[in-house]
Symmetry: C2
């Protein structure tokens, strides 16, 4: 399990590095043609602000939303030595922060344009809207049932597998939405800005897309893997084969019972 | 389980209908501008052949690859009344057919162009290549281990959860790749062909994209749900809660033991 978590973190670091390099090294990619001209006339101040808002969208959605929610999903793993209360609090807080970053990232994308709703025409935006809506609903339901404990223990036990499945599904949808966003931006750059199809930027964004695919697989695998516990004598005990579902754990088993 | 399978089939039918309507009703979408002109001069014969090859890619990848492999994954569910041998044979055959359709779909896309390798520049093609490679490797390993039985029972039991996880992951990757393909085509149509961003075709393709998202969730949910068995008295027995992994079943539990 420790090895799997380490691999997930390494791929997460790779994703963060790639999106940062893309956002900070390819400045013209994130500038509107009109604002480039205007900015030249006013000394670059407007351009810098435009650039800031424009790069915020990929940075917030990839690092703030996807990477942070991955960490939140695995909080029950990397905090296995802590109490259940601590793990649940960390899971809830990190998911809440990820939701906040996601909403901020969507707002940043449409700032200064015709408004959010007027821009929701692409498949990327439809998928993103569905994803954030599912994520928000999942957070509210999780808060009410598993943190606030509005329901009895039996109901919580019955709902946990659904909560886990919905969380993993929303995470996968977030990654798929990011892939469409990367491809939309690259297609636009190829056709409108004349960026060559075989260029450093194209290769960088494609590698970022594949790194997200790998990250998603590792995070989901770590989340559904049975837990290992340390015995008092220091040896590692894996859960009994054949019985992998327990309400104390975090596994996608017994979805429908 | 029957309800879940029915929902998965309904969403599959919706996906098939939408991709067929798109491919057959929006003819100019799948024609190259040059071939349209040439075809007008030679009486439309070349145009019809070009159109055929061009529409084959989305049809084969969505219906032949994604929908068929979804049916194959659920063969252990909808054939629950049959013997294990029959279920395994159906699973293997349908996955083999899906792989064949997938390879044919990729070939159809690049027919008449500069060759397959020369066209692999987009994130869509990189993801598609990874997906088909994983799918082919998964099929070969599955054939050798679970059908040909090159390994002993203990090894098969140990490898089954990995086989299931890799299969579900590849299926999710196929759907994500299809989403990037739909978005790439629409972005191209908006910028190069002047298709309005708010048009019937845009809405149709976006709904197709969302239907694929729903289909993926239902198929994966049906695949990881615990099995129900009919008792001799006709009543339905769900597997004992707390023990959901069994090598006889088809669930994504006990990935790492």
């Amino acid at each position: 399990m420790a090895g799997l978590l380490a691999l997930a973190r390494i791929s997460g670091l790779l994703v963060a590095t790639l999106v940062l390099v893309w956002a900070l090294s390819f400045r013209t990619t994130f500038l509107h043609p009109i604002s480039t001209t205007t900015a030249a006339a006013v000394g670059g101040a407007t351009s810098q602000l435009d650039h800031l808002y424009s790069v915020l969208h990929p940075l917030l959605m990839v690092i703030g939303f996807i990477l942070l929610s991955g960490e939140a999903m695995l909080a029950h793993r990397w905090l296995s030595g802590c109490s259940r209360g601590t793990r649940k609090w960390m899971h809830l807080s990190l998911q809440g922060a990820a939701l906040g970053f996601g909403l901020f990232g969507i707002w940043a994308k449409f700032k200064g344009k015709d408004g959010i709703l007027a821009n929701f025409y692409s498949l990327h935006s439809w998928m993103g809207l569905l994803c954030v809506a599912l994520f928000a609903a999942q957070w509210v339901v999780g808060f009410l049932i598993f943190w606030h404990r509005g329901k009895g223990r039996r109901t919580r036990v019955a709902l946990l597998p659904w909560h886990v499945f919905a969380g993993l599904y929303t995470y996968g949808l977030a990654v798929a939405t990011a892939e469409t966003g990367l491809l939309e931006k690259l297609t636009f750059l190829h056709i409108k800005r004349g960026v060559p199809r075989r260029s450093l930027e194209s290769a960088l964004v494609n590698v970022l897309g594949l790194a997200l695919v790998v990250l998603c697989g590792l995070v989901v695998l770590a989340a559904v893997s049975p837990k290992q516990r340390s015995n008092k004598d220091g040896s590692i005990a894996t859960k009994k084969a054949g019985c992998c579902y327990s309400p104390e754990d975090y596994e996608v088993c017994a979805i429908l019972r």
